[in-house]
Symmetry: C2
Subunit: 386 residues, 2 copies
């Protein structure tokens, strides 16, 4: 296994993009990442694309073929991977594996979702849960995370305001992200008084329905400086599976797959939470942001709400979380999210994050979750090769 | 990159399996392959699963999580790959890559599709074509392949009877396959007089709607004899992309992705068509079986129909094709097919194919196609390590 670097990244605007088709979005992201990296299309050995459910959103499967065709890269192999909202994280991971193995030298991993072409995306999103034991019984995603939130409040005294504050911090960061779906600030009051989606979660605890795409270009670490002066190195790539349904878990306030993947990632990299200067977590709902910082080990179990309340997760806090705005405010086009997280950390480590830059960030982390935690992908990236 | 072996294979019965759910099917295949290989569940480092469209067939995405959970293998990483009907072939390929890279030692790659739980599978299958430029204009899969067949007849003089004979040979082989959906013989007359699906193709030129699953267990070649006396070695794994839509191709009687992947596979393995004792090809329609033997190089372009008519593809012919019965008669649960092809070749090379055994088979090949050729996966397997 050889070391791997990221030499190009991109993200389209996330939002309700009525003028952009599925194929247009992913082509835009792919071509921008290629341009950012300094490679030529002919240099690409293979491509991976993360997408949750183009079949249900735009009646298109076989999207890897569609994409390699649409961007003019046939016969380059292109493979779709799917793991619900962690599809992007696994697409990065497959790309890293392809290069680390020596099978490929240059790989593009992209992620895309076009969610706004259906009247109601809820049934499609619910296919990330256990259809037979959860979705068919009427459980939607907000309701599943609402149960996790209510239990966390019961077990640890997490307050409604602390959950709201997670969204507030996200929006504060997104204000400085030109690609964010909601680049404006909100207040705790506004979250608390928004429409209830699934008690205790209101509309402003929930990530939105989004269109968008993102892409990264990966190459062997030893070749990276040929293409760019600012390669970012992959310190660890880890993946774990967990129970798809909530009822099968010992606890619904811990996401075991995150814990397992984070432990692996720290073991592989030899790093600890104290080394992480910026982390992008999977806050599909505010409660999941709080679970993430606990399960990744930034705070003890049950202390996530307090840490958010105290400002520890803010851009100038002890461990800055979601400088991009996170799923809540950057937007959450399902399959694109895991790639956009990596892109944000790359921009932060390059020092190219503009007004949302975390000063001197050297090591960053991403956590991407499928469903309510059935899949977790964790990556650690660093500015220095060694 | 290290050499890789297959140490366990399985296939469920293919057919209209009203008593088997999606998760039951894939669990059955996975557990049988594990048993066949002699490994324990704890030995598994990661899993890949090929599936085209559980989202549209059983309203379940995130199936890799569902599967690792249902067979009790959490937190082992499990990743779904999708490439329409080539999903299984790519799942094998990802498994091979994971072991070849040194990232994993033992990998299970499975494939599954449960197609019979919807009233009409045609719209779901059509998502493998270009939705905007083909499916939305009314093109179904039989109609696309019918155009390819008609053009092949026009360009090369291929006859209606030659197409029919491809199905006849498949059924002759399937008669001896206990897992086949249609284990009985048919005649050319029967094919010609069956209901027309899309002229010139009749019902008996078309692979059926099937439920089923299959799995393989992969490990480093150097470890294979620890687990089994009859490991089968991976000589090559190749993948290529081609135009997803027919109208973008120079010719609709050649599948370029097959040609590219076959050339790569022969280059990697140092073998030629003359070395292949058995080949499983992707005959979703009879015409595609004929295109396959041409594009893989067993006969010259245009001579496939004649070769079939002359008996060259029969079990005792010059180059036996589809000893399993192929997609037409073994059945075609989309995501399972690429894995079932590999399982059949493994049984043939082990000498365990019963009444359908090709005497002395030492080297075999599989060709798995997505859509009308937007993706191709080609594998070459051998009985000897070197």
């Amino acid at each position: 296994m050889r070391d791997v670097a990221i030499i190009g990244v991109s993200q389209t605007k996330f939002g309700e993009l009525w003028d952009a088709s599925f194929r247009k979005l992913v082509a835009e992201a792919g071509l921008k990442a290629i341009e950012d990296s300094g490679i030529e299309g002919d240099d690409i050995d293979s491509m991976f694309v993360g997408n949750m459910t183009a079949g249900l959103f735009v009646q298109q499967e076989h999207i890897a073929s569609l994409i390699s065709d649409h961007i003019g890269l046939n016969p380059t192999p292109c493979t779709r991977v799917e793991a619900a909202c962690a599809s992007g994280g696994l697409a990065v991971r497959q790309g890293i594996m392809a290069v680390a193995s020596g099978m490929n030298d240059i790989v593009v991993s992209a992620g895309v979702e076009k969610m706004t072409d259906v009247v109601d995306p809820t049934p499609a999103i619910a296919t990330a849960s256990d259809q037979e034991w959860e979705a068919q019984q009427g459980a939607t995603f907000p309701s599943l995370y609402a149960m996790m939130a209510r239990r966390h409040m019961y077990e640890y005294g997490t307050t409604r305001e602390q959950l709201a504050q997670f969204s507030v911090v996200n929006h504060k960061n997104a204000k400085n992200n030109p690609n964010a779906q909601y680049p404006f600030e909100i207040s705790v009051d506004k979250v608390l008084n928004a429409s209830v989606v699934a008690d205790p979660l209101t509309l402003l605890d929930c990530s939105p329905v989004s269109d968008g795409a993102a892409a990264v270009v990966i190459c062997p670490a030893e070749d990276a400086k040929k293409y760019t002066d600012t390669p970012i190195y992959v310190k660890a790539s880890a993946q774990a599976s967990g129970s798809i349904a909530l009822h099968d878990r010992k606890s619904i306030t811990t996401i075991e797959s995150t814990k397992v993947a984070a432990k692996k990632a720290f073991d592989i990299s030899g790093l600890t939470n104290k080394d992480i200067d910026a982390v992008e977590v999977h806050d599909c709902f505010s409660i999941n942001g709080i679970l993430a910082i606990e399960d990744l080990g930034f705070v003890k179990k049950g202390e996530g709400g307090k840490a958010v309340e105290e400002g520890q997760t803010e851009r100038d806090g002890d461990f800055p979380v979601n400088p991009s705005g996170g799923l809540k405010a950057r937007g959450h086009p399902l399959g694109a999210t895991g790639i956009a997280q990596v892109a944000e950390i790359v921009w932060q480590l390059r020092g190219e994050a503009g007004k949302r830059q975390i000063d001197g960030a050297e090591i960053g982390m991403t956590q991407n979750i499928g469903g309510t935690g059935g899949t977790a992908a964790v990556h650690i990236l660093g500015r220095d090769k060694n």
